[in-house]
């Protein structure tokens, strides 16, 4: 199992892995429309917007080390920016770009306070959470007539409906067909994935990972870590905004639920389950978990009992069974030997604790023997 995880991470970070993943996406780009199943295409477009959202979180958390607890705020801002702009302009080209620019500007503003104020990871998580909540409450309260931007009303908790879909650039009467919308969305997904890969391979990307690895050393080398973190945060926000605008083109509707914490929570879970520090993992995590919640019978921001209960369990178990913590360093990923054994030993030991006193000793001894066999881990604890 450990080999599997290691090879998965190798595959994800390797160049041929990138080619394979991008290749699969390109194949889907050409094959899916041929199947001539409009409903399937529509579903896939929904998944694509969510995958792009997952990628934004995979980037800022897994590579930038920024734990943003409110990635949904940029998703929502992007969606609202598009909806309001397209309502005013009656044309989608500029709104499409605004859907990325507005969240990016907001992230720049918020990020300035957080990163130039040198707040630590935990404070960043709490502040992003609080800002997301504030936006959610604010948008919910804008149902009155006075909340109108240009020709577009914000509509509060009712949400904005019948939002115009994309049209061909410059020609507001030529709306994109369902197939073209799919091509466009899939093309954007491929561009996002490949773009992030290129970015991570560049000097910028390598410094970003270095900052995550050891902020102090990066700074002692002369890198302005505040700026790098801000840049990562802003890029992540723009990508999340793109996802928000694409999701509107799926359902022609946006409501304050786009800002909802349950969405923010799901994004984290996609990355967590898929593997922090990879791009492919969160894509898979996103698709699998969306499908699970679909089967459980609730939508993306629904509040059914089972989704909460089961997702809560998933999260707790995932944190517990990964002993080095879920923010692994690259070292952990590439570490071959002993990890699986240590994981199992840890599980055995904690099991022993739960057993009645009479049967505890042999189980604990077994766990300790496993630990004893395992090579020294060579690292102690996690940062934070």
């Amino acid at each position: 199992m450990t080999d599997l995880m290691t090879s998965f991470r190798r595959f994800d970070s390797s160049r041929h892995g990138t080619w394979v993943v991008a290749g699969v996406m390109v194949v889907l780009l050409f094959i899916l429309p041929v199947l001539d199943d409009p409903l399937l295409l529509l579903q896939v477009r929904y998944y694509i917007s969510m995958i792009i959202l997952a990628l934004s979180m995979a980037f800022i958390w897994g590579f930038g080390g920024i734990m943003c607890f409110g990635q949904s705020m940029f998703f929502g801002l992007g969606g609202y920016a598009y909806a309001i702009a397209v309502g005013n302009f009656g044309e989608s080209t500029a709104p499409f770009f605004l859907a990325m620019i507005v969240p990016a500007l907001f992230a720049a503003f918020l990020g300035y306070f957080m990163f130039f104020g040198r707040l630590n990871d935990v404070y960043v998580a709490v502040i992003t959470l609080a800002v997301t909540l504030a936006l959610y409450y604010f948008i919910n309260s804008t149902s009155g007539d006075e909340y109108t931007i240009g020709k577009a009303r914000l509509m509060g908790f009712n949400g904005i409906s019948s939002i115009r879909k994309f049209n061909w650039p410059g020609d507001s009467t030529a709306l994109l067909s369902a197939n073209h919308l799919f091509y466009f969305a899939m093309g954007l997904l491929i561009a996002t994935y490949v773009g992030l890969k290129l970015l991570l391979g560049s000097t910028f990307g390598r410094v970003v990972v270095a900052v995550k690895e050891n902020e102090l050393r990066a700074e002692l080398l002369g890198y302005d870590v505040r700026l790098y973190k801000l840049a990562v945060f802003v890029i992540g926000a723009a990508i999340a905004g793109l996802a928000g605008c694409l999701s509107i083109n799926y359902k022609n509707f946006i409501s304050p639920n786009a800002f909802h914490l349950s969405l923010a929570a799901q994004i984290i879970m996609w990355v967590l389950v898929g593997g922090v520090g990879t791009l492919l993992g969160p894509i898979i995590g996103c698709v699998v978990l969306l499908y699970v919640s679909f089967i459980l019978g609730t939508g993306a921001s629904g509040g059914g009992l089972n989704t909460y209960l089961i997702f809560g369990l998933i999260v707790m178990i995932f944190v517990l069974v990964i002993p080095q913590g879920i923010v692994p360093t690259l070292r952990d990923w590439r570490e071959q030997g002993g990890r699986y054994r240590r994981m199992t030993a840890g599980a055995v030991l904690s099991m022993a604790e739960q057993l009645p006193a009479s049967s505890r000793a042999p189980v604990r001894a077994f766990g300790e023997r496993m630990l004893g066999l395992a090579p020294p881990s060579g690292h102690s604890g996690n940062k934070g």
Partner: protein, 241 residues
């Protein structure tokens, strides 16, 4: 840049933590090209002094000048860009990255990608880690990680290098090589070295500054320091116990 120019000067440098004064009103000065050793018992404030110089701590009071410029209000990365490199007491390296990546990140700060690749290879040779280029730094022995950090610092071609216990965790052989390397580095840059290893200090020292209770106790040549009764009392005396 004449030999006699002052490279680093502090005036009234003070660092307080609550009620504890770790660095107390230190006036320190050294010249271009100098190799200065900093000694003193544990808790004398040597590492804190280094952290104030590189703005890992914001000094409570006082000023720092580097080559005539007031760098008191500079922040860490700006100080690094001015040409002060530091090897911290606990090696601060990118554990999750390879030796090559570690050095490369330092080289790339100053050079274009291609030049950075070339310099990286040179530095790896120089610190003798050619056999471990692709290895993750986190998996190297403590001594080797020290070398990686030295390599990172050297790559930045700083004008002043602060070394906090460079030989900690090294074998006798490695200490010898470090001595060589430090002499070599000193031809291009000024150095401040904090060490506990007296043999090592004897081997490299020109002038020695003794810290005690956050203050400069005495500043002299190694020979005079060794015969200084005051120093024996506070440092060597205790150390011998």
């Amino acid at each position: 840049m004449a030999e006699n120019d002052v490279i680093l000067e502090t005036r009234g440098l003070t660092m307080r933590f609550g009620g504890v004064v770790a660095v107390n009103n230190v006036d320190f000065s050294m010249k271009e090209g100098e190799l200065r050793c900093l000694i003193g018992p544990n808790g004398a404030g040597k590492s804190t002094f280094f952290k104030c110089l590189t703005r890992q701590y914001k000094p409570s009071a006082g000023q720092v000048f580097f080559r005539g410029a007031d760098i008191t209000s500079d922040i860490t990365f700006q100080i690094a860009r001015r040409g002060i490199g530091i090897k911290t007491q606990v090696p601060s390296v990118f554990d999750g990255l390879s030796v090559h990546e570690n050095i490369w990140l330092s080289a790339r700060r100053h050079h274009k990608t291609r030049a950075a690749n070339k310099i990286t290879d040179q530095i790896i040779e120089r610190v003798g880690l050619g056999h471990a280029t692709k290895q993750l730094v986190g998996r190297l022995a403590h001594g080797e990680r020290q070398w990686v950090e030295l390599g990172i610092v050297l790559t930045g071609e700083p004008k002043l290098i602060l070394l906090d216990e460079p030989t900690a965790g090294m074998t006798g052989d490695e200490v010898g090589r470090t001595t060589e390397l430090i002499r070599e580095i000193n031809r291009q840059a000024a150095l401040i070295v904090v060490e506990h290893d007296m043999q090592f200090i004897k081997a490299i020292a020109q002038k020695v500054t003794v810290f005690h209770h956050g203050q400069i106790l005495v500043e002299d040549t190694m020979i005079n320091i060794l015969s200084n009764q005051q120093v024996r009392d506070v440092y060597l005396g205790k150390h011998a116990v």
